[in-house]
Symmetry: C2
Subunit: 108 residues, 2 copies
């Protein structure tokens, strides 16, 4: 199965989350898996792509609307994870909310 | 130095490039470095973030305008790299052009 999300025709929204981790797992891996599972059951969720190496992690989640992004931000379990992200897991991060206007796929 | 791009106040544009590699390097690493260097000298270039693991690579480049993205797409050396990407380096990829409307930074 491909790690590339197959999405509907634009427009749709992308939340680009780029992060640098603190040292050690401290429960991060388990929570990350739980959040992906929970996000995927939200209204308006379209897909997710994620990659991490020593320097940086990038997770892009795709959503049907700004309202669905706001609802996910406000989700109670997600709020708990966001707090632990700031207090334990992330050295720094950037979050960018964008509207995808065009896309293009290539498959060999 | 942080791998997170520090960018001007939105709006700006993000090109989200998610890719699955073929086996072996085949000159990819060298060309990727050259393209980052070349892109950084283009008018309208704002920054780049990149992460790759076994499953997926995600590179997000940030631009001041759609015109600057188009000019980079049409750059002659970049065109050569794009062709080699399809013929040699990528099993599959998705390219998404999006307009960043809001961003948020966290730093410990």
């Amino acid at each position: 199965m491909s790690a590339i999300a197959k999405l509907p025709t634009p427009p749709y929204y992308a939340v680009i989350f780029s992060s640098e981790r603190t040292e050690g797992d401290k429960g991060y891996g388990l929570m990350a898996d739980k959040m992906v599972e929970l996000a995927s059951r939200q209204t308006g969720y379209l897909g997710i792509e994620s990659a991490r190496d020593e320097a940086l992690g990038i997770t892009v989640s795709y959503w049907a609307s700004l309202e669905s992004i706001k609802a996910w931000k406000d989700n109670a379990a997600h709020q708990v994870a966001q707090q632990r992200g700031k207090s334990e897991w992330y050295q720094s991060f950037a979050l960018r909310i964008s509207k995808v206007e065009r896309d293009y796929y290539f498959d060999r």
